[in-house]
Symmetry: D2
Subunit: 286 residues, 4 copies
Amino acid sequence: MSTHKSTITLLISCPDKPGIVAAVSRFIFAHQGNILESDQHSTNQQDCTFFMRVSFAEEGFALLPSELEATFAPIAEEFHMQWSVSYSRQRKRAGIFVSKFDHCLTDLLWRWRSGELMMDIPFIISNHPDLEPLAHMYNIPYYHFPVHKETRSADQQRILEFIQGRADFLILARYMQILEPLLVDAYPHQIINIHHSFLPAFIGANPYQKAFARGVKIIGATAHYVTANLDEGPIIAQDVIHCNHRDTAEDLMRKGRDVERRVLAEAVRLHTEDRILVYENKTIVF
Amino acid sequence: MSTHKSTITLLISCPDKPGIVAAVSRFIFAHQGNILESDQHSTNQQDCTFFMRVSFAEEGFALLPSELEATFAPIAEEFHMQWSVSYSRQRKRAGIFVSKFDHCLTDLLWRWRSGELMMDIPFIISNHPDLEPLAHMYNIPYYHFPVHKETRSADQQRILEFIQGRADFLILARYMQILEPLLVDAYPHQIINIHHSFLPAFIGANPYQKAFARGVKIIGATAHYVTANLDEGPIIAQDVIHCNHRDTAEDLMRKGRDVERRVLAEAVRLHTEDRILVYENKTIVF
Amino acid sequence: MSTHKSTITLLISCPDKPGIVAAVSRFIFAHQGNILESDQHSTNQQDCTFFMRVSFAEEGFALLPSELEATFAPIAEEFHMQWSVSYSRQRKRAGIFVSKFDHCLTDLLWRWRSGELMMDIPFIISNHPDLEPLAHMYNIPYYHFPVHKETRSADQQRILEFIQGRADFLILARYMQILEPLLVDAYPHQIINIHHSFLPAFIGANPYQKAFARGVKIIGATAHYVTANLDEGPIIAQDVIHCNHRDTAEDLMRKGRDVERRVLAEAVRLHTEDRILVYENKTIVF
Amino acid sequence: MSTHKSTITLLISCPDKPGIVAAVSRFIFAHQGNILESDQHSTNQQDCTFFMRVSFAEEGFALLPSELEATFAPIAEEFHMQWSVSYSRQRKRAGIFVSKFDHCLTDLLWRWRSGELMMDIPFIISNHPDLEPLAHMYNIPYYHFPVHKETRSADQQRILEFIQGRADFLILARYMQILEPLLVDAYPHQIINIHHSFLPAFIGANPYQKAFARGVKIIGATAHYVTANLDEGPIIAQDVIHCNHRDTAEDLMRKGRDVERRVLAEAVRLHTEDRILVYENKTIVF
């Protein structure tokens, strides 16, 4: 559901027990909030964790941001909630990382300009100078940060210093560099990567060549949050496309590009709309 | 989410205004109900109607069915709700109608026996005797009700007399007869039909031949509630499959059978789980 | 199968009878041609028409273009063939028509520059000036040809005069104007249009609004050759995407854009590779 | 393309060089064969192997089976072909192996009886007695061959002795036993297995549990020929279905059943129609 008026979104996770929904919706109602969307999930397992996303119109809501925090705190405490609040009028700032492939970046920029992705793009960073003209077409600052194997840690340290305070989350739009822990740790569950295979199949380098060698009849792409373990972070979105014996490894790359850009854009959209909660290396997508 | 413990499900529609979710969830919580699933939708249009489906565990809930009704009535009245309640332990009774094609019936019966469809099947009715052995394989009574063009109204009147009180909803599993208003009116939004095309394309008879003649590259199937206008009732589920110039009309029928049975089964599952609300000839599927 | 060496492609249709494949392949072999792809189809109907596409390497083939024509003529005559020959090194020239929507154009231009679409783009024509900057990003001449209802025939006559001799086929990339017969007749089965619905559902204007009003659970897009009857020409490619009650008409437009650009690009690729034969308002796609 | 008249199908593989198609089609034409379908493929790699499937009507063809063999031999020799011939009127005999799950078996039997699968089913073998009633519904002999871990080799030896001469190929319709080399070697590329995951993801036991634990957003199924290495044989067909955080491992099993039975049936259909060639642990599917 798209809406252009500003909304307030609460993301909540806590131990499951009766009364959570009642307490949250009563809180919103009591301060003149009109709920626009509400979704919840409970892991029906031993620990039984409860997750909730609720969004309501900012217009008419009686509490200012600072007041909301203070007023909701007792409820959060009562239910041992981890929670966050976001205002849709405060667009998230997405720092984009690329290397030489331009299909994901082209797609993100077009969707962003057409209004599909409600975010700001303060910068594009690359280890190559190639895509600077594309960034300039859209008037986005482009920074060339070379990364070398031997100095990778120091190189990425410089990147981190540059981006801190400038970006709320990062998008690796086919950034062909492994991130150092210092970067991963600075943006926990805030770095979205697109892997060009249907994970967990074909982890690591050259998945299209591997898919070709294995003779699969479907290829895919996976958007996930980056964690310490390469290609093993929480999966946000996946999609596939059929292929056959006529497809060379090069054809798989061509077909796969369509899937990659679609899946990455979907993951970014979900993230910007605060629709994702991470739980035990999995995602709940409301 | 499947659960084998009995759940209580409320389906609600009413004019949208703040406080509905808070009132409903407070009601459930106040009587020791633990919400398992909750979904809502608001038509962002002039009238602005609000829809809600909420299910909670029967175990532990403090109100008996008769008490629930009485206790919830004031809330329903306050918000001008149309509402219904169902208990998952009370399986709906599905009367199945067939003609000669067996693919949808075979599929429904297999899914039913395997536990995918939580319903009872009190009878199968057909205008042909052909599928009686299949019904007997599953120990379901099979009744042959011939229907003739000239006497259709009277023929279907006899069917109606037979089924009333025995079935909660009807499934037309490729029943090749148009239903008379007397039957349609007796089961408003309680008769599920599978149409072998991607509606609104190819309304009426012989959709595969029409699809072949038009040269489409995809064919589909549509499950919908039967209304007075043929193939124009609220759509519940649709799916498609690709085809090409090599496919004869016969091939389209073969491919289409797979889609038909899958789409019909999905619609039946949604209906048995009280996941469908009808609104202005459209469905809200929670 | 993609190959970057120049290939020769024969497209053949004729009454079906034994010996056609043998004659064609013998012809190619006799002049040192190495067949790279070969596909055929026969309409198993009363008339029984035979269709064939065969491509072979230009390198090593013994006949010059003029010689090929003369040498193949007797075979063509014997079997009453309609046939054409094309050389992949002679890229087709695609004239693109747009209005204000930029998603299809953006996508076509990106695919073209990335090497997915083997064609030249001599010009972009529009009835609005809006997309000129996009054309300039890719260094393609952009011509603004206003079209007015009252003077449409004369307006399009001027367009025709401009494009004749400059384009081999036309792409209507969401060109929101009905083409006059003078244009349609000048490019028989050489004008590709993208219609933003799953034809034959929702012919004509505003298909997303119609789809929203009908409450369908899947929307689609259709690429077809333009004929005299609006949206009734031979279908080249179709695809779909699922939707639900949460999707507003605006959401359907957003989701549909992804399908439109993918389907149009696929149709254009098939056309540039000479993979399409038209037969009785249907396409054979090899 | 389905046809009910008997056809002759040649499957050919050989080193690629010009003239193969010409020689084969000339051979068929010279003996009054009318080609119905013809497909070919060449691996554009160093070795460059050529594959061809051509089918023609048996009616009117001048050579008896024994004559065909003798007459085609010189051509086969000239091009160093590996080749086989099959007559569609000689239906392949499929031996089906099952354990306790009935969804794939139910589906295969229904498709077989409805005429979708052109094969005979001489027997069903199981390591459990459970599915005997299902076999009897379709009048197919059912044999209970218990298999024990400690005596597996001997147990399967007894199975091999039973089936030899009775089946042309084997279908493992969720047969939960690893096949001994003695069985695999007796039916090279003639044993079709359905694995309930999107290979190469989730090889081995309990793929749905693994998929649930990993939090994937799509699950799949893979039909492949059984080789010495578990789940690593040539892939014939694959398909997928979307899932989300609401799906329990049990839900994944339910959704997956639909994909499994569809993919297995497709692979069996392709095999019975001689549409599959195996090449370097991959399949070419014509």
